[in-house]
Symmetry: C2
Subunit: 255 residues, 2 copies
């Protein structure tokens, strides 16, 4: 037997949004290396005897630095174990999966990558906000509000373009600044915008407003991370397209 | 009993990339309304007695116009049947799911939406191209090369931005024009670019080059739809990050 590391997208929260392949690999794993955003329901699919190592990453609160996570994966892979590295959403969208795979590759460890439902797609389906729409948005752009020290600001001129949906991951902390930047770069103050907290989980909450009003609405509702900011005309469909038979049942439009 | 329509993302091709929820709903469906890009392996999960209605959409070759698909879903929903509308990838990314849901809503038919792995995420994982990367791409934008008559051209100034990955769905037919437009709008001619044909299926092929060389390379390889164009520095990782234990086993870097 030889070690193998699977980087597995755990999806946005609802365990039923795991892929068949992710569920199978989780059930077979000897050891799971788990991010903060992976839900308990997902971990329930693991074998009772499987070891779990939490390396939780919260914005600004990395339990383990990325370099140590990389080294841990290499060490576990060398121990000839079946390792599943569980990452919230998709491993290759704001998951730093590329860095982990590069470390495994340099160490000569066998690996595979299993895509996951990224939070934007989960939030879109469960909140009733199509990311693209023939009449409203011909493209969609994903960016992250989390940035490392010294890194440039986001490319606001791109995110503020019309006829496009912009999704900003981890965008709660800087919500007012982000909305202001979008307006400064040409998006109308009346552009519909939504914040989706705990997308697809039983605790999902959605607040909607405009670029001008959303920061105040979100503050009053007490929206906290993890939450996605979705900006664009498609957000105006959110109330109407709310699924009539949504699971989890508690998921509702809060405002 | 009352009719219900589930819009279900069938993922990019590999049936193992279905979500648990999609697989469950497909297995329970009385009737499936199926797009062209849904793979046979996905349909194998349906009950033997389930009716299948193919409404295949190919670029420029809609077997059924969108309005008739909407009407069909409403009619089936009114027949008090369990309907699964299977769409390639994710229903809300270039899937026109919003239009179908609006039709159901107007008719008062109960519905739900199940997100799916969009082709860009499937291609990313199976071809070893992270869509974002701390060193190379802080955002990712999805656009579609398919446009209806009279519609504006793509927003090339956005797609050509640096430090970003651009993914163009259904981009084979206009590949040379798209690469030229990206160069015209400021992306360097040496920017790495890949075309992923039949992403995640056993017939997956990946060709890589630059914005300048890719059209010729793709023509020589005979790449045909469905294929995704991925543009950005992350493509330079494709050869190195190719999974060592990828399924389907035949998936390989063709060039």
């Amino acid at each position: 037997s030889v070690g193998h590391v699977a980087l597995v997208g755990a999806g946005p929260g609802d365990p039923e949004l795991l892929t068949l392949r992710a569920a199978r690999l989780i059930g077979q794993a000897g050891v799971l290396v788990v991010d903060h955003l992976v839900s308990d329901g997902v971990l329930d699919l693991a074998r009772p005897g499987a070891e779990r190592i939490y390396v939780g990453k919260e914005s600004g609160h990395h339990t383990l630095p990325q370099e140590e996570i990389n080294a841990l994966l290499v060490r576990l892979g060398r121990e000839e174990r079946q390792v599943v590295r569980l990452k919230g959403g998709d491993p290759y969208i704001f998951g730093r999966g590329g860095e982990e795979v590069e470390a495994l590759l340099e160490a000569g460890i066998s690996f595979e990558v299993v895509p996951g439902i990224t939070a934007a797609c989960g939030a879109s389906a469960y909140a009733g906000i199509p990311l693209t729409h023939r009449d409203h948005a011909r493209s969609v752009v994903f960016a992250t509000g989390h940035r490392r020290a010294g890194q440039d600001a986001l490319d606001w001129s791109v995110l503020a373009r019309p006829q496009q949906t912009a999704v900003i991951y981890m965008g709660v902390g800087q919500l007012a600044a982000h909305c202001a930047a979008l307006i400064d770069h040409g998006r109308g103050a009346a552009t519909p915008a939504a914040l989706v907290e705990n997308a697809t989980s039983p605790r999902q909450r959605v607040v909607t407003g405009t670029l001008e009003t959303l920061p105040e609405i979100a503050a009053q509702a007490g929206i906290r991370p993890p939450a996605l900011l979705i900006v664009g005309e498609v957000v105006s469909l959110a109330g109407r397209l709310q699924p009539t038979a949504s699971r989890p049942a508690e998921a509702a439009l809060a405002v």
